[in-house]
Amino acid sequence: MSALENSRVTGVLLDVSGVLKDGETAIPGSVEAIRKLREAGLTIRFLTNETQMTRRKLAASLIDLGFCLQERDIIPPCPALVTLLKRENMRPHLLVHPDILPEFDGIDKSNPNCVVVSDAADNFTYENLNEAFRVLINMEKPRLFSLGRGKYYSDNGGLTLDVGAFTAALEYAADIKAEVIGKPQPEFFMSVLRDMRVEPQEAVMIGDDIVGDVGGAQNCGLTGVLVRTGKYRSSDEKHPTVHPDAIVDDLAQGVDLILKSRK
């Protein structure tokens, strides 16, 4: 815990699923914790690899749970990907959750020259995966974009496969490497910090994903805090390569730690 002492924390990045909420339920103490951060005047962003709903819908569902936030505080990977697709004239074949299709409304999807995979959940059928595979194998230079590459997440208390498993499957089948957009990609963290006008050493990331949240943040010079909620498993504390700056029981405890360090 010593890593947080004497620090000048001015910005806080928070993962959403497994930190603020688990499934459709707020994690106890987390609504109050966000309020405390706001009252202390800290700049907050919600950095999520969530791709099962649009940013608008995610914001609405969090506000419904009582969280004090605005849609623009939430940073999912989709807008960054859409910007990249437009910049590079990419026409994607989409293997995504039907609820995020509106995010791709302005994008030409005819005659695809890349594949985008995100947490498609029940849309991960054999035939859908096969279709994505065939698009890739028939390309001269196959490009696969993966929105995050998490291994699993907690959904209403049960662990569920995340996009990473399916990205790994497509990579193996087509013998290629995916390009990841979202955590733990460094640019994803850095662009948010630029927008917040916060230096990495003044920022703390709190998450339940030892690699995507904690490791990703630490790689960029942020302080990485792991919570024992969501997908957390006790084996995470013995991770071979990632060692969190602090491990806390939940968001409430993490926020208290940050606020104490500023006094």
Binding site: F124, T125, Y126, N130, K151, L159, L161, A165
Partner: protein, 267 residues
């Protein structure tokens, strides 16, 4: 060649491409198998299948005129059920319906009692909900057993994903490593040999990697036949190369019988 060669205790023979191509026996193969049998050396027929049961393979070979017993067939599916029984595992089976008859007594394990995941080729089970069930089992420490790790195969309407991508996806999510039971895994050849020392055994096949390299890695001698999927130059694609290269199965048997009867008289 004869120097240092051990007595021959077993011959493993590949099926497709070595004894037959689809519904046609390789010329001379039926008679060659008869000649080999006269030596009374134990024989096993080894093959990677994800769909065809042992009975189905047996019936095909008999129809082509080969003389064999059903229990001489050692397929990757059969190796999987053998492994499950030896280790007392209660599997979640993700295999083709046609393959289930190889798993008698292992097919109806209650979900809460399953403690292993077996992946063959089962497109109707390669979906989110079944893969999640398999994933949750793996998180409890259940072993992941792969019939093989093929990337894709040819379906009538084009290429289709094989078992490999789903094995790799589950390995990634659950941080585990699969046990591959088919060729070229050394464990496959050893399970076919049982207690026989690999140094006393020969493998005959047309696939330089799966048959020859795999068997030789275990210490067997590999006889590469130039039929089936053999392509010119295959013998130089592996190092060390095949112990013997011969034009077809019949020639392989002739070489074997000559080599070993000589060494037999010498010792």
């Amino acid at each position: 060649m004869a120097a240092g060669k051990e007595a021959l205790k077993a011959v493993l023979i590949d099926l497709s491409g070595t004894l037959h191509v689809e519904d046609t026996a390789i010329p001379g193969a039926v008679d060659a198998l008869k000649r080999l049998r006269e030596s009374h050396i134990p024989i096993k027929f080894v093959t990677n299948t994800t769909k065809e049961s042992r009975r189905c393979l047996y019936e095909r070979l008999v129809a082509l005129g080969f003389e064999l017993r059903e229990d001489e067939i050692w397929s990757s599916l059969w190796a999987a059920q053998d492994l499950l029984r030896r280790r007392n595992l209660r599997p979640m089976l993700m295999v083709d319906d046609a393959a289930l008859e190889d798993f008698t007594g292992l097919t109806d394990v209650k979900e809460e009692e399953q403690n292993a995941v077996v992946i063959g080729l089962a497109p109707n089970m390669f979906n989110y909900s079944h893969l999640n069930k398999a994933f949750r089992l793996l998180l409890t420490g259940a072993p992941l057993i792969a019939i093989h790790c093929g990337r894709y195969y040819k379906r009538s309407d084009g290429l289709a994903l094989g078992p490999g991508p789903f094995v790799k996806g589950l390995e990634y999510a659950s941080d585990c490593e699969s046990e591959v039971v088919g060729k070229p895994s050394p464990a496959f050849f050893q399970s076919a040999l049982g207690d026989i020392n690999p140094a006393h055994a020969v493998m005959i096949g047309d696939d330089v990697r799966d048959d020859i390299s795999g068997a030789q890695a275990l210490g067997m001698r590999g006889f590469l036949v130039q039929t089936g999927k053999y392509r010119t130059g295959d013998e130089s694609r592996i190092s060390p190369g095949p112990a013997v290269v011969c034009s077809h199965f019949s020639e392989a048997v002739d070489i074997l019988l000559k080599e070993y009867s000589v060494s037999g008289r010498d010792s």
